[in-house]
Structures are given as C-alpha cells and as structure tokens.
C-alpha cells in the first residue's frame, strides 16, 4: 500500500469550552500504488479536510497516515519537504489556485527551483515537457493565467502537480468547476497520466458518475466517517449502507434514477453537534432504536467491502 490512513481524526476548536467541529472522525483506508481511491460524499462530510490532512496542510487531532510504509504524521520540516515532493495536490477552483501574477512558466518552474532540480536549461526543458504532457502548447509558457479558460487552467494546475514526478496526487474536486464538455477532456487526461506515469490518485468528488468513472476503490463519507468502503463494484452494484443507497438513488438520470428513488428528509446534521448513535440515523429511512443509541461497528462484508450499519 502506498498510502495507509488509520483512525484519522480532525477536530477544529470552536469558541467555548469543549466545542469542536468534528470534521473527520476516525477514518481508515488504504490506496495501492497505481490505483485511484475515491472519496465521495456531500458538502461538509469532511472529504476536503481529509485531503488536506494527507498532504499535511492540517495537523491531525489523532490517528496515523503512512506513506510508503512511513508514518508521516511525525515528520519534521526536512522530512515534510521530501514527502511533498512525492505527494502533490490539484485543487477545485482553477481560478483561485494559480497565482495571477506568475506566468505559466514561472508557476511550473517554481517547484523545480525549490527542490533544486536540474540546471536552468534542464528546467526550461522540463516546463516544455510538462506542458506537452497535459496537452498544452509549449509556447504558452510566457502567458498569465487570465489568458486561459477554466479547462486550460486546470491543465496548468495538473502540470504543476506533476513537476516533481510525484507518486501520489490528491485531486480535490478537480472537475467540479468545469463545463461538462471540458470536464470530459480533463478526466481523460487524468486517466492517461495515471497510466503513463504510474501515478496513484486520491480522488475526491461529490459527483457519483465521475467517481465511478475514475476510481478503483471508493469510500463513501457522511459527517466525518466512512460509512461504506469497497471496490467500484461493491459500491455501485452491491451497496449495502442505507446512505450509499439513498445517495446513488438521488442522482438524476434519464427515465428516473438508478433503482427506486429514495428521497431523504432533512439536511445532514452539523458536524459541531453530531447526533447520538449512528450519525445517519436521523435521516435514515430504516433506523431502529439501536441506531439512535449506539455507534455502529464497521462490518466486513467481503475481503474488499465494509460498511458501518447496525442493520446489515
């Protein structure tokens, strides 16, 4: 396993005593090299916090993250710098994640400079190579971000993430801000790059169609927890958790949704004040007394498939 996350917790303090936003509540999963692990869930479920914990933009409250067998939660400055060479991130908003005052060339050269990779000439060569990799013309180097469309900017963001030949790329909603025709271009590019460069992706999205297209293994998150986890087939064909079932049935599709549509009532509860027992119980159409009392254990359904529900 390239990435192993174990019982990871992140609580953000709120004003007042003992009040926290419980953004991530004991999440465990692992991603094998060359594969794409997908995290799917609605807004506020903690998927972006999880991404930021993994690339060490946040410090965890508890738990461990192993990368290539090493615990990276204890890394010092030096170790962190080395880790970040191997783990990069692509952000959702291609308008906010590029520095408007830096040319494409300097955006791409920056990481090379920071890590003292190559000579000046080699770096220039690398910039041209990176632009080629993501399907942009190498003459775009001297241009500024505002001269590009959203899709082109996202290509620049991907090129920047590739600059140092990382092993892991964390993609946080990389196509959500793009129009569908452009979205397809970027998804195809990501699939090609993964194969050509042997990359491992952690792919975060709220769009189930996109997640199914991209991911080998998937974790479904609700209120800071992974409620169901498995291979693509486990989640899309053999889903067992009532939340996964409702989520999938809510996806609009021609001629009605996949299977019987389950309309959940209400909104997800606040992560600052989660309900007792199973966090999904207040909205769960099948909830029983035990669900409102006790937190459900993670049940193993097959070698690859687990779900946290009392009723399974």
């Amino acid at each position: 396993m390239l990435l192993e996350v174990n019982e990871l917790v992140k609580h953000f303090p709120l004003p007042g005593r003992n009040r926290f936003v419980r953004a991530v509540n004991g999440v465990s999963f692992a991603a094998a090299p060359g594969q794409t692990f997908g995290l799917v869930g609605e807004s506020g479920c903690g998927k972006s916090t999880l991404a930021r914990l993994i690339v060490r933009l946040y410090r965890e409250t508890a738990g461990t993250i192993r990368f290539g067998g090493r615990d990276i939660t204890a890394l010092g400055r030096r170790g962190l710098k080395e880790f970040r060479r191997q783990a990069q991130m692509v952000f959702q908003d291609p308008y906010a994640s590029l520095n408007p005052r830096m040319t494409v060339r300097s955006t791409l050269i920056d990481p090379l400079r920071v890590y003292r990779v190559g000579t000046a000439r080699e770096r220039e060569k690398r910039v041209a190579e990176l632009l080629g990799l993501v399907g942009l013309d190498e003459r775009y180097g001297p241009r500024y971000p505002h001269e590009f469309s959203g899709g082109q900017r996202q290509r620049i963001g991907i090129a920047r993430a590739l600059a140092l030949n990382p092993r892991l790329i964390v993609l946080d909603e990389p196509v959500s801000a793009l129009d569908v025709s452009v979205q397809a271009q970027i998804l195809n590019l990501l699939v090609d790059l993964r194969e050509r460069l042997g990359l491992t992706y952690l792919f975060i999205s709220h769009d189930l169609g996109v997640v199914e297209y991209m991911c080998d293994h998937i974790g479904v998150m609700y209120l800071g927890c992974i409620v169901e986890k498995g291979t693509r087939e486990d989640i899309f064909q053999k889903r067992r958790h009532p939340y996964t079932q409702a989520l999938l049935s809510a996806v609009p599709a021609p001629g009605g949704a996949v299977g019987e549509q389950i309309i959940l009532g209400g909104d997800p509860p606040s992560p600052a004040d989660p309900p007792a027992g199973c966090y999904f119980s207040p909205r769960c159409p099948q909830a029983e007394d035990i669900c409102r009392r006790e937190k459900p254990p993670l049940k193993t359904l097959s070698a690859t498939h687990t779900a946290a529900c009392h009723l399974i």
């Binding site: 452009v182 996806v251 609009p252």
Partner: protein, 324 residues
Amino acid sequence: MKNNAAPLLEIKDLSVSFRTESGRVSVVRDVNLTLAAGEIIGLVGESGSGKSVLSFAVMGLLPPGSGFIDSGEILFAGRNLPALSRREMSGVRGREISMIFQEPMTSLNPVYSIGAQLDEVFVNHGDRDRKANRKRSIKLLERVGIPRAAEIARSYPHQLSGGMRQRVMIAMAMALSPKLLIADEPTTALDVTIQAQILRLIEQMARENGTAVIFISHNLGVIAQLCDVVAVMYSSQIVEITGAERLYQSPAHPYTKSLLECVPQIGMSGKRLNSIEGTVPHPGDEISGCRFAPRCGEAEGRCREQAPELRRLAEGVCCRCWKR
C-alpha cells in the same frame, strides 16, 4: 410542443445583445420557443450559452442601458412583454411570472426575517393586512415542506441550510400562484440528496397549480428527469428542441450527442469518455456557417459557410443542423 390551445408563452425570433467596451455582443440569437400551461421545459447548455440571458429577457430584467432586445417578441398570455411599460411589467413579475435563482444565499435579504420577506410579496401586490399576510406566509412555508414553519418565519436566512433557503425561495416564487415559473439552476449549489428533494418539490408545485416551468440547468440528468420538453442551447442559439425521453435515446444535433457522451454515467466505467475538442466560442464571435462547426466531427464545407436554421424534423423535434 402542444398545438391545440394557444400557448402560454411564445418567444418569436428573439435576439438579445449586450453593449460592451468592445461593441455589441449578441448573446441570444433567433430564439423560438413555445410553452403551454402546465408544461415543464428544460433549457440546457454550458456556461455562456445564453440560457440565463434568455430568462432575464422574459422577466424584463435585462440590465437597463447595457442589455437590449434587438428583435423578436415575447408573447405571454397574448401580450408582448418587451412592449409593456415598466409599471405594467412589475405587475406581471411575481403575480404572473416569477423566478428562482441558483444562489439561495444571495437571493434572500440577510437583514430581514424569512417571514418578513414572504409577507412583502403580498404587501407589494396590495394586501396590507399584516396578520393575514403572516398566516399566508406560514402556510406557504408548510406547503414547501418546511418543518416548524411559524418558528422558521421568525428566523433569518443565515440560520437556514442551503436546501431550506431554496425552499423559501420556491415558497416566495409560488406565493401568488404565477402562471410561469423560471428556475435558473436552482439545485446547482445543492447536494444530490437535497437536490432530489427540491426537484420533487418543483414538480409537485407545478403539477398542482398548473404552473408552466422553464427549468435552466447544465445538468442533463436533472433536465431529463424533470422536464417534458428540452431545448439545448449552444453559443447563444437553440440547436435542438426535443422530448425529454428522446433526449438520451435519440439526440438529433451533433452537439447534443457529444454532450451526452461527455457525462460519465453510472454503469459505464471502463469506456473512454467522449470529449468535445476546443472550447465554446465567445458569444461575440461572428462565425460564418454553423456555430458548432469548428468543434463538430461531422462538419463539412457547407456547415462552415452557411448558417443552418432550426428545422422541424419530426413531431416535437427541431434541430439546427445541415446534416439532419
């Protein structure tokens, strides 16, 4: 396209342009659309295709001084809306046509309570009995499925979730039982489980009141599920009008076809996604011939020279393409 009764809304050869620093930019070109009472029509297209501008034109909300209707008519229940005075138009808005927007946070006033904003709708249309207005407001909130409606009426927009705020917007839009509701990407900012609730609500409100709906979205799945008829827009034109169930089964226009193939559908993993090369032209770009030709896989000489018209292909199907 029901031809039996006189349509509720008939848009004829409508063109809209904006005045910009670099001259006039045509954002809606020769749009023809009819909508019967109780019908739900979907307007689908990517950003910049002109779908929102079209709806603003119907509402009479084009920015004064910069947005202009160059030609065409918008006939609503027999009256040509652009020809109405401002006063007459404000009588139409709210009472006969109302609108809900994408961002339920910015569409509500943060410093007034939910109840006060709902009451205002009745006040503006002449009902001044405060107690009766509040009662009606609470009833409306109940109808859109808001629990503890009396309590919510006293709260402020920031205290509600996105889904709840969108319900309030729908309540406000339905307050005076309009004949036409324009919904501009009303679920785009919402999570899928909340989106499902809101779609069901819009459908229910439309069916119960016989309200016609123009539903604008970039999401083909949402459109296909909710609407009776779909109009596909590309670069300021309608390129196809078809039945919602036909949209997926037999799309007519090459753009519609490619667009459908771009969307990863659950159950099709492993297949490579189609993508449309290039980008949407700028609305101001004058393109000789078909506006989709530069990106179209089927384009031939004629497509690049002569602009195709929207032609009727079959009952309920219109398409703007030389090759159909």
